[in-house]
Amino acid sequence: MSILDKPWMAERSAIDNAVSGGSLNFPKARVALIFLMAVITVLFMLFSVAYKMRMELADWRALADPSVLWINTGFLILSSVAMQWAVSSARKGKAENVKLGMALGGAFALAFLIGQYMAWLQLRAAGFYAAGNPANAFFYLITAMHGLHMLGGLVAWTRSTARLWRGNDVADVKLGVELCATYWHFLLVVWLGLFAMLIST
């Protein structure tokens, strides 16, 4: 099916009649997630554009990136790994491991968020206020935006996890677990990009 088809023609018609209405072989929720991730990508790309542009103006003073960021990045990676483990356990039908993986994934994600907050506190203590310099402002802004998206992920995570704990069948929650994991990996990649940008300048 393509834009070159002539939908009014008989031969085309015969083919089209047999076509079921789904364009993609994914569950609906996954399609929505893909679009959501595209939207978020655009959002962060635009922040980066603004960052790059603002950086080239003269009053930019790079800030000393708090070292706790490295630890946080570690948490985020662990969180992603745990989620992935939950997914593969779900595929194998091992309910207990799924629970454990999800719990760990959530815990590490929380640890990441707390760590990000610590980074803010450290910066403030060191006198880097948002209004002081655009580099500081961008740091707070970008980490906050990323954190908000993580929080949003945690809401979805809570729903899937609650269903797991209520004793639903693994097969029922499999999709939820998979989508969470995808989103987690996505946020990890976004963070790695942002982190690279923040520390390299």
Partner: protein, 107 residues
């Protein structure tokens, strides 16, 4: 009409040649970027654009991907590509602003 026939008519030889021609043009354009000496971000934006376009073409035709699926991939991938235009222009813009500040504001 059977499905086999539908599949068979999908990729006649002509389209391969057309695609080859297009790929050729795109590569030529990439080289032009070098030859004409575009600079910094613009250069990379252009090269990346052509690269993406080529990759897209190859995926779409030679790897027998489903059109509909592809259309969606493009719908998702194209805008970030257009964002590259934005990035390139914004980079030029900040240089320009910076330049006027140096010349006229004295810092």
């Amino acid at each position: 009409m059977t499905h086999a026939k539908a599949e068979a008519q999908t990729h006649s030889l002509g389209i391969y040649f057309k695609i080859w021609a297009l790929l050729f043009v795109l590569s030529a354009l990439s080289y032009m970027v070098d030859i004409l000496g575009f600079e910094s971000y613009l250069r990379w934006a252009l090269i990346l654009t052509f690269m993406f376009l080529k990759a897209g073409l190859i995926i779409s035709v030679f790897m027998h991907m489903m059109w509909e699926r592809l259309a969606m991939m493009y719908a998702i991938l194209l805008p970030p590509l257009l964002l590259l235009v934005f990035i390139a222009l914004m980079s030029l813009e900040s240089d320009y602003t910076f330049m006027t500040r140096v010349v006229f504001f004295g810092h």
